[in-house]
Amino acid sequence: MKCEEIQAQLTEYLDRTLGSADITIVERHLAGCHLCREELELLNRTIAAIAALPAVEPPIGLTQRVMAEVKAHERQAGYWQRMASLIRQNVPVQATAFAMLGVLAVYLVISEQFQNPFRFSPDPGISNPKEASTLRTSPHSSKADSVVPPEPAEEPVKPATHSQADQSAGQESAGGTERAVARPPLHAARSARSNASPAQAPAPKRATNVSSSPAETSERTDTMISGITSRNHVSSQISGTPVTASSRFDSETAPSFRPPSAAIEPFADLELVVRRHPRVVDEPGDEASRAGRRSESAIADLRAIDRLMAAIPDHARPQTIWVNIPKNQYEVFKHELNALGTIESEMAVPLLREQHAGQADGQIRVKLIAIPTTETPISTAPANR
């Protein structure tokens, strides 16, 4: 046998794992081969040198360090493991799945609302899209046409009676310098706007200075309300902001002002509760002056604050509308609102993620809840004269 073959077996020979026959062959070769004997000797010394390496003591505190890391790992993983274990042991799988589905559903609803806070579920009262489109305002329409009151056929709320309209129209102050204490009926306001010439159109939207003049205040209020959304009728808007389709509200049957069909309502930065002043009633027999004032009111454009209130159907129940107002015009808006009612509550509405509900920069969205007066209608005719 060649030296190479013998040397290949030396490892097992030294480890005494060779068979007896192979041992005999190797030993017979070693007896006559000086090179293989030297190789065996060197291998033997190498193994002996390795085996002679002393054992080294591990560093003091190795166990403590390992256990400290183990406990730190346990603390990190412990919470979730315990939670998972508790759920596995104590909560049935079906209940866990049901709870997770519920959480997912809430998350989807909230995330959807944050992505487009002014998009709503379709108005259950408007099943025909064409019908809905007729009730919405074109973004290119003039400002005077922007407030679209509900059509009588579409409005579930009883429209104001003719006598009420006449009474309201008769009380409108001329020139708009005085605070309006009565509002024209909705159909009268629409008629006035449709007949208005471009020269009689309202002033441009932009309001720059704040003034205490009633006329200027009226104009500012006109411009600062950029969007009106009413819960009680198909929504409309003034300046082309996204239209909100809120739910129809049946005032005859609904037990409260919050309609049951509206699961989601627009976000608002502020919530105002306004109790309307008692209705102003005309004195009888003043038909001439009332007719004159009605013609003037048909020509003059309404202030936005009036249109705002006019957009609220004349309910004996609380009404909710949403309006967009420039931040710097908010106090003016409240001042205007005081002429129409008493602000009984003003509350900032906390929003998730610190988002603002305003649709544009510098605007705030106000949820205005108009509640009816508890008093009986009074006549203010002597006071106006």
Binding site: T17, I47, I50, V70
Partner: protein
Amino acid sequence: MEDILGNIFLKKRSNRTEAVVSDGISDAECVRRVQEGDTEAFGILVQRHQKAIFNLLYRILGDYDDAAEVAQEAFLSAYRSIKSFRGDASFATWLYRIAVNHANTRRKSHAAGQERGAAMESLAGPPDGDSDPAAALEQKETRQRVQAALDGLSTEDATIIVLRDLQDIPYETVAATLGIPVGTVKSRLHRARRALKDRLAPHFKSQRIPE
């Protein structure tokens, strides 16, 4: 170091006798306890195997601090995955495999990065015997050369030599630790021994052959 194991159990048993009894717990029993959430039982395993694991790593890596660090990592890895330990091999074999894998990773990182420092053989304890200073010095020099030769081997060769020739682990266990057949262990061991012999031969030839 001997008291560490006792200390762990003194927390529970409060007497040394119990600590001695606890030392008789098998690895399998400790593993079962750890798998059931008894973290302290893992301390027994660490205490029991730390010296072997540390020496294995020290000889493969050739650096004391590296060995301590990798030993710590290996034990922590073993703890993290002890739930998956099914007892197909012994715990020691499983732990050796984890340690060897960590040593391979560390060696590769050294190869890719900075050179390792010289082996700290001086920390390996006093030389055997105290009668002949010249023999002691020669013995120390031999150890340094052996460690340097081991450092020069591939990780694969160094590992198999340490397992078989230093720790005297049987072929079958080495095969189980490295996850290779026994035949491969034999051929790889032969190759590693010859490589180490080639590195140490000049030193051996310069020495007088012991009687």
